[in-house]
Symmetry: C2
Subunit: 352 residues, 2 copies
Amino acid sequence: MTKKNANFRNESRSITIADVARVAGVSVPTVSRILNDKEYVAEETRQRVHEAIRTLGYAPHTQARRLRGGVSMTLALHHPIESPHELSSVIEIPYVTGAAAAASEKEYFLNFLVSQLNPESILNMYRSNQIDGIILLQVCMDDWRVNLLRENNYPFVMIGRCANLEGLSFIDLDFENAMLQAFDYLIELGHQNIGFLTYPQSWRKIGIGPAIRSLEGYKHALNKYGLHGCYREIGLNSVEEGFEGTNDLLQENPELTAIITVSHLTAAGSIKALALHGRNVPQDCSVMVTGFGGNFANVVTPSLTTLEWSPYEISYQATILMTEKLANKELPAQQILIPPKLVVRESMKEVR
Amino acid sequence: MTKKNANFRNESRSITIADVARVAGVSVPTVSRILNDKEYVAEETRQRVHEAIRTLGYAPHTQARRLRGGVSMTLALHHPIESPHELSSVIEIPYVTGAAAAASEKEYFLNFLVSQLNPESILNMYRSNQIDGIILLQVCMDDWRVNLLRENNYPFVMIGRCANLEGLSFIDLDFENAMLQAFDYLIELGHQNIGFLTYPQSWRKIGIGPAIRSLEGYKHALNKYGLHGCYREIGLNSVEEGFEGTNDLLQENPELTAIITVSHLTAAGSIKALALHGRNVPQDCSVMVTGFGGNFANVVTPSLTTLEWSPYEISYQATILMTEKLANKELPAQQILIPPKLVVRESMKEVR
DNA sequence: GCAGTTTCTGATAACGTTATCAGAAATCGT
DNA sequence: ACGATTTCTGATAACGTTATCAGAAACTGC
């Protein structure tokens, strides 16, 4: 017990800047200067210190640096949904990886926030220097998070949009553009009767952006081309709702030659329903999907032509934006709308 | 400029324990004691301090706590794949949310690690006290991460298994069990000719557990029931490979009445191929899927009967395990195999 | 009423780093 | 050759917290 390994429990004690200084025969601040690439260090000293660092296997103590520096070099990616299980259906992994990649590129860490976070706990994360900024996923029109963070003057970037955007930075999907693009393409193929299966009414009512703006976009597009349309607001996560929604649409307007949906699952339901009405896709009716989930598009037969966004890119850009804001507080608010990309597969055809 | 707000840039300076102490009229250590629920504090003092905390909006400075305490209260979830884009096809979001939920429950933070991490940078994360432990996703037989962490005596938990498991903790999918379960069910339905579309050969060769053990499990199960089988090792991410694989299987054994696949996409390809051979699923041939991705199962027609694991649960359990290990270094290694759950849908039927 | 215990509190010193200052050594200009 | 500048280095003090110690106050038991 009197042995040298009395500090056995201390096995994880890390090598400090002081150890390096001792080995290199310099002072502690000098090592620090070298670690931080400050000017005014003799080349010879620099080399000696670097060698000591290498032989000792020294790594700077992150917590200490952060305490001293006043920043945590950590960002949070926050999703509002309470139940983590539900999350899986809405948020895709590229949202996480995109943010993680951007963060690591800028030498930040990324915490993924899940679970029931109340306002107080979010404020606390910032106050307690756990995080320097937040990237908000799935921002809706009247988002309590936005109000909270704005009031408290906390740095954040939104993926999605809220109501009063003045002075706020966001990245969002350009739904109006998407609908116009969809119509441009459909019109080009000769379609005049275009149905729409969109997000649930409940989503629109609680102010979820995609639900609001895609319907607006649909109406704009109808206007632009002087067409009448018909739409249904249905759930996204079941083939059944697509099936029933399509039945409804066909009852209202049997002349439909094209249906736009906002989820691959409902599109699958659409195809089923159309088949039951004796209509093959794409020969007798075209089906187009706007949204995410390129993976699904190829599972359905026929494979689905889509207007898609890359969640990876969006999340990546939002995170870069956050780091830039943190690096330069004076940076004016950036408001970025991302247009979707048309990916032609099998589910659309010219009107005969 | 001589104004009080010379410390303007200091606007984010947080309220410290010292402020609380001053307001409450006590000493700094006393506040600390109260914050950490230590014994020996007068009830009256406790209340006074708590009130000061509330009125000031104080939150403990995480970095300082961690510096003092020597732990970071942060875990990392690490995935080995280099390109973040590829990640999306293999790792699902519940892996992240499950770990995040467990971490937050145990008052840890969770960093999601992505991008090209070399050995050195992983060691550094630990050495530099950024993280207290790592949860490794997708561990394969000869995983460099495992060797590295084991050699350096770093705390980690695996999702998946490597070669030499002595003294290591892991959570893995029980593939042998899965194959036996699959066969039990298939035999019950009267099937005797059971084909298998499994993971790519390349995966097996580089030692990816599912690829190795599901094939082993298949062979065991054949043995158990005294059957002959036929299998193909194909890619997972395309309907086409499922299509071609199934054609191959049917050529080798036209008597097949059931096919097991390990991905929903290849199952979809299977169904296509069977249809082309005039065989309807499930009337003329059953299709079963083992693996993740319950979402996909309902997109395909007919919907797919599956043996599925919950990535959320697995990740959750692995993370809890990690925290327990950190809380108690003496805890013996835990090695946990999770059996899959049979979810009956439409794609399987009794043999006529 | 006094030693012995328990309950409470505050000074002090760390944790590992970096900013600030000031002093020493080297280089420069005249 | 001498002051002025530039280059380099080290003491010192912070960042916000907690562990340790010791002392004060309040209780015990006789």
